[in-house]
Amino acid sequence: MPPHPSRLRRVAFSPAGRRASALWWVAALLFSVASAYAVEPDEMLKDPVLEARARAVTRELRCVVCQNQSVDDSDAPLARDIRVLVRERIQMGDSDAAARDFIVARYGAYVLLRPPLQGDTLVLWFGPGLFLVGGLVLAWFYVARLNRAGAAPAALSASEEDAVRRRIDEQAGT
């Protein structure tokens, strides 16, 4: 039986209801917190456009000390040095790509968090697709074989048919 409307209204103001709405608030606050970055105020460029470009470049660079953080995220002193260096390059008029290539020339393509398409990353780029296609091909063969086996059972041979007919006749005779 559904609760009476007056009872529903009471639920919203009951302790359980308040707890639920408090939870919503906590969740909302948690998700509203901006991610904390390691960039210190003294590193930032005065020009917000250049600063935004520098942030975008360093977010794509791997910190070579911590390796699974970006240069933008990392507190390592070397990451700071690279942040400052990228900002200098951008201030000197480097394009984003040129500033990124400056670091890649020193540390290799490994510092790019998005691996570029090149000889030693072919497996990384196409391996999953190959496995998917390979799996689909195997599955297709397998299913096709099942269908063949299920749809067309082999016809009985002449001697088998004789055996069946004899059996039926025997049964009919009893």
Partner: protein, 179 residues
């Protein structure tokens, strides 16, 4: 029969993956292979530590085989490999240059007084820019530089007796034989 052959395909795929992972997973992921191997030392012009006004450049490392060791007094592992450098220098095995990476002069001075100074000269990279040009990811790292000033090998981490006798000593001997 065709279907029997087909059913072995997953097995071979698994074997191929196993070989791939056997190689891939046994590599140390912390070792980043240098892109500077066989390339000339990046240009630098730095003050010589402990010699007022003197400079050292990449040109100074041409004409002989040398080690360029990235060190810092704040680097604990550098302390571990230091006695070997002292011995190599005493025995005149190879010229060892230092690159003091973002170190405080007073700290480094005290460090060298305590442990000895096996370095032919130490370049003072206070800003850490030369270290970045060299693709340094941490200390200690050591570059083997040939007579023409090219980087031929990079050792990431401590050089101990094993690394020296197995890897570096033969390499230095080979490079000495080059023109």
């Amino acid at each position: 029969m065709k279907s029997r052959w087909l059913s072995t395909v997953p097995l071979f795929l698994l074997l191929a993956l196993a070989v791939y992972f056997a190689f891939g997973l046994t590599q140390d992921p912390r070792t980043i292979h240098s892109v500077l191997i066989d390339k000339p030392l990046p240009a630098f012009d730095l003050p010589v530590f402990g010699q007022d006004g003197a400079r050292i450049t990449n040109e100074d490392l041409k004409g002989h085989v040398s080690l360029l060791n990235v060190l810092a007094s704040w680097c604990v592992s550098c302390r571990a490999e230091h006695p070997l450098f002292v011995r190599l220098n005493d025995e005149k095995k190879v010229a060892i240059y230092g690159l003091a990476w973002k170190d405080k002069p007073d700290d480094l001075k005290q460090w060298l007084e305590e442990l000895g100074n096996p370095y032919t000269r130490i370049a003072d990279d206070a800003s850490g820019r030369t270290a970045i040009d060299l693709g340094v990811t941490g200390a200690p790292e050591t570059f083997v530089v040939d007579k023409r000033g090219r980087i031929r090998f990079k050792q990431v981490g401590v050089i101990d007796d094993f690394v020296w006798t197995q890897t570096l000593a033969p390499l230095v001997a080979k490079l000495e034989a080059e023109k």
